[in-house]
Symmetry: C2
């Protein structure tokens, strides 16, 4: 089986690539080759079983989507996106990358014809939902995003379902919870603190908490995110009917519960590295975000996530810190 990963240089793309290189297969499907695409050159993992190629280009450039399909990949992960903050500050770029490039990819697939109908796994987001919403968001709740990022993702979801219904491709969109603990450096995204307050203390550094401990949000580990993508790649999409987009399972917990889990796993002294510094601007933004989901469709299909924040902390320590806490 041939695989194409678009957005391979991003955090999720890199982890997905590593996992595929390690496993050599997805479910029962043997992987023969993987083309890694991004706007910056993706890293190639070492692998004997799989041939990895890279291509560095703008997916939206003329003919580029078509070129990426040259080998007729059986499976395409479309992970590339301009994220929330940038899509809000650069409106034109957000629409171009998040809508036009996605459509260019779907169109390039459609015009191949000849029965070509690859599985397309699309990474969507809980940002397709916007306030007001109930404390728990159900599978049939409307997409009414409050960002241009969420708008573009919701539009792409609609196209994914329509192109699938018409038989042009075999799509599945998965709405990822907030990924926690994000590896890497602290960033200034409004959501950054959810990971910072775990990652930095475990790393011997101070982290700033800008919101009250009562704030509740929806999480899954990076490991779960990769599992979702792989399961989406191999499941029988006939089970989806015409609704090709699914809210993924996750864990609803408060900041206080995050901190309690950190204490339990790493001790009081590590959790003491969190400094409270309330920030009204951050609070205002994150109060507009979902707190909890009910995801019976994903559960019925076998998708699962962590059931406690302790697990999420332990996964971070295993996967990013070689089991060691500073």
């Amino acid at each position: 089986m041939k695989v194409l990963i678009i957005g391979a240089a991003g955090m999720i793309g890199r982890k997905l690539t590593e996992r595929i290189a390690r496993d050599g297969c997805i479910g029962t499907m043997q992987i023969e080759s993987v083309l890694l695409h991004d706007i910056v050159t993706p890293e190639v993992p070492s692998s004997k079983a799989i041939s990895f190629q890279t291509r560095t280009s703008d997916l939206g450039a003329a003919g580029e989507a078509h070129h990426l399909l040259k080998e007729r990949p059986d499976l395409i992960f479309h992970l590339a996106a301009v994220l929330s903050g940038e899509a809000e500050s650069d409106f034109e770029k957000g629409y171009r990358v998040n809508i036009d490039n996605t459509r260019a990819l779907f169109e390039a697939i459609r015009v191949v014809g000849d029965g070509y109908q690859p599985r397309v796994v699309f990474s969507s987001t809980i940002a397709v939902f916007g306030k007001p919403f109930p404390s728990t968001i159900d599978d049939d709740f409307l997409s009414a995003p409050l960002t241009s990022y969420g708008t573009a993702k919701a539009m792409a979801e609609l196209m994914l379902s329509d192109y699938s219904r018409r038989g042009f491709l075999d799509g599945i969109g998965i709405r990822l919870p907030t990924i926690c603990v994000r590896p890497g450096k602290p960033n200034k995204a409004a959501s950054g603190f959810y990971s910072n307050i775990i990652r930095e203390p475990l790393n011997g550094e101070e982290a700033i908490l800008p919101v009250p401990e009562s704030i509740r949000h929806w999480f899954a580990s990076p490991r779960s995110a990769i599992s979702f993508l792989l399961q989406a790649a191999s499941l029988d999409t006939a089970q989806l009917g015409d609704r090709r987009n699914l809210s993924m399972p996750g864990l609803s917990c408060t900041v206080g519960e995050q901190i309690a889990a950190l204490k339990k796993v790493a001790g009081e002294s590590v959790a003491a590295r969190i400094r409270r510094e309330p920030d009204e601007a951050t609070l205002r933004i994150i109060q507009g975000w979902p707190e909890n989901f009910n995801t019976p469709r994903a559960h019925a299909l076998g998708f699962t996530a962590e059931s406690s924040f302790e697990q999420i902390v332990r996964i971070h320590i295993e996967d990013e810190l070689h089991g060691k806490i500073q």
Copy 2:
């Protein structure tokens, strides 16, 4: 106030134009000029108070949307669309007209800048909803369309909300029920019979009923549709928050109730002109359509529709038949 009507040659566009010509105002707003746009030349009503102009062109042609804004209309009705059947049979045309042209219009408005922020009234549709749905669809039910037409309208709704949220325009999308009784000739649309079985008998002609009398659907009269548009043009959009799209009120009734109303208004002999000729293909299509809605948001804003099918029959007789039954 300057008005632009895009899609002015269609059934709704013509009725809206006539109504504006007759009233000379919308709510408390005096109308100074109206530009009627369509791909075929729209009819110009006689009016002393209002200057009517027409422009016949493809909204999607380069620079065309920009040209339509030359006079900086304060109010824009965007009614132009490729309808359900054609958008399904000609995929490319459907996406081009229903998505690309709508975006071209929104973009042309955005790039004017200088605080230009016209009211944009967008005609959407209950085709943004697809099965499975509950027997009554609420205001927060997801858009999961089962046609390319519904997909494009749902995508346009998302853009309308996003462009409004960002202050580029002041949009309101209204999801029209199935318009009944449609004036004109019988057509072959799957929904055609809902109007045919009333219009044709009242006109002394036979009509074919292809489905059982138990089938339930969601209706409003053409007169209500025009009222919805006019009210959307003049209401205070601050009341909408960031959800700019609204399911309109309507009447849920069965085919049996339609026929009973026709009998009551026009007598047994008129209703006897309906011939039962079951058609499985039609039945399959219309069984995928909504049966009933609960529209508290629209009601709270003062939108109202007919409360009995008898009213709908009487409106047709008044507005289309000068009060006379054949």
